[in-house]
């Protein structure tokens, strides 16, 4: 599926570049320029992605995650509106299974007083992350090919030349969610323990208050590392998975040009299948982990010492 005109490096680089819309140093907003031309045909690009700095949006990431999220809440809302206790539909049964799973996780991991946010938070994380992860199983060239007007990425006739369909392979998506969890952890820590209690937890443990400086050195990195790792874990797993898919896709490069190309392509198909099957596990596991760890960290924010 990889276009013959691209070499491997370009192909990989192309798949790792987000469709970016941002503010250039000269003050104008535009899509980014890659290799001397705009990411979207017919628009003027005055700078590349790294020149944009902070004020840039990964359009593909936001589009895909919001699209999936919207699909999720519309679906869930429809089920919730028609929910009946005596005559559940098949879809309701499926959703109820999911809700029961999440509720059990909340009850197992979150032993603090009932907090009405935990269930919905866990359900949203699990389903949304799962859906976003699932995008990894879409053939990696399919969506870029469609948005480019059914043409190879570098073809002249295409419309949008860059589009990453997997939002979690962009660090901003998982870290954005982890940031939300981080805010919640701070909010509940201070709410339940008081600012003093929260700070005391970070400074007076594990060696007592006369060793405060050493405690801080131990505690602060540990406290923030776990929250950072929450996002990085998801990002790393899915990015790596995506990377493997890209590398496997390189096998298909010479499919129509030679006998060895055909053989490589067949091997690639087998590899792609195996990796996709394995990835089903990763997709669910990572969504589940994100949910459970969020609950565990928030439980710690509710605990009194």
């Amino acid at each position: 599926m990889a276009s013959k005109e691209l070499n491997s490096t370009d192909y990989i680089e192309h798949h790792l570049t987000n469709l970016t819309y941002g503010k250039c140093p000269d003050g104008t907003w535009s899509f980014a320029e890659v290799h001397g031309k705009s990411q979207v045909a017919g628009t003027e690009a005055s700078c590349n992605i790294s020149e944009m700095g902070f004020w840039a949006f990964q359009v593909d990431t936001l589009f895909m995650s919001v699209l999936l999220g919207m699909g999720m809440i519309f679906f869930m809302r429809r089920v919730a509106k028609n929910a009946s206790s005596s005559k559940p539909s098949r879809v309701q049964n499926a959703v109820e299974y999911l809700v029961t799973l999440v509720r059990d996780q909340v009850q197992d991991n979150f032993t603090a007083d009932k907090n009405p946010l935990m269930g919905p938070l866990a359900l949203t994380i699990f389903v949304w992350v799962f859906l976003m992860n699932l995008m990894d199983l879409i053939p990696i060239d399919l969506v870029p090919w469609i948005v480019n007007g059914f043409a190879a990425p570098n073809a002249e006739g295409g419309a949008i030349h860059y589009f990453k369909v997997l939002p979690v392979a962009d660090i901003n998506a998982p870290m954005g969610m982890a940031l939300g969890v981080l805010i919640l952890i701070h909010y509940y820590s201070i709410k339940n323990k008081g600012l003093g209690g929260f700070l005391a937890e970070l400074t007076f443990q594990p060696y007592g208050k006369w060793m405060a400086p050493i405690n801080v050195i131990f505690e602060i990195p540990g406290f923030y590392a776990k929250q950072l790792a929450l996002g990085l874990r998801l990002y790393g797993n899915l990015f790596a998975g995506e990377m493997i898919f890209i590398l496997i896709a390189l096998f298909f490069g010479g499919f129509f040009s030679s006998v060895t190309g055909v053989l490589a392509g067949v091997a690639g198909l087998a590899l792609n299948f195996i990796w996709a099957v394995f990835h089903i596990l990763v997709v669910i596991l990572q969504a589940f982990l994100f949910m459970v760890l969020t609950l565990v960290y928030l439980q710690q924010a509710h605990e009194h010492h």
Binding site: S50, L62, G69, I73, M76, E96, L123, D170, N172, G176
Partner: protein, 156 residues
């Protein structure tokens, strides 16, 4: 792999989706779920209660049946006894009646015999008197000789 404003876009979307789920999804599904769980546990409880009651009813039924059998047997016994009694009574009253009839017949008989004796006696007396008259050829003063006649009649 560069941090930029997308991070906050994602954060906002995350907050919105959690809020929406909390407001419009989670409570409804959970409510249906808990309602059904309650219905099921109520149903199970009702079923076990019904089973218990059925067992009790079986026991009670056996008891009632037993009592009814006993009562019926008692009634039959009583009826038998009463029938025997009646037969017995009838027998004894018939006996008495027979006795009574026998006694009265006896007394009738005795009376008739006595009367016949009296009649015979007076007739014999008359005959004796008549015989004596013929023998003597004269009339016997009945008044004078009534003492003798009576004496004769007495001796007969």
């Amino acid at each position: 792999m560069n941090f930029n404003a997308t991070l906050f876009g994602q954060l906002l979307a995350f907050v919105f989706f959690v809020w929406f789920t909390m407001q419009y999804v989670w409570p409804y599904i959970l409510e249906a779920l808990e309602e059904r769980e309650k219905e099921i546990s109520d149903g199970l409880e009702a079923a076990s209660r019904g089973k218990r009651e059925l067992d009790e009813a079986h026991l009670k039924k056996a008891e009632i049946l037993e009592a009814a059998k006993k009562e019926a047997a008692d009634l039959v016994n009583q009826a038998n006894a009463r029938a025997n009694q009646l037969v017995e009574d009838a027998k004894s009253s018939a006996h008495e009646e027979a006795e009574r009839i026998k006694v009265s017949a006896q007394s009738d008989l005795d009376q008739a015999a006595k009367r016949t004796k009296e009649e015979l006696r007076s007739e014999v007396a008359a005959l004796a008197v008549a015989g004596a008259e013929k023998l003597l050829g004269s009339e016997i003063d009945k008044d004078k000789n009534s003492q003798i006649i009576d004496q004769i009649a007495q001796e007969l």
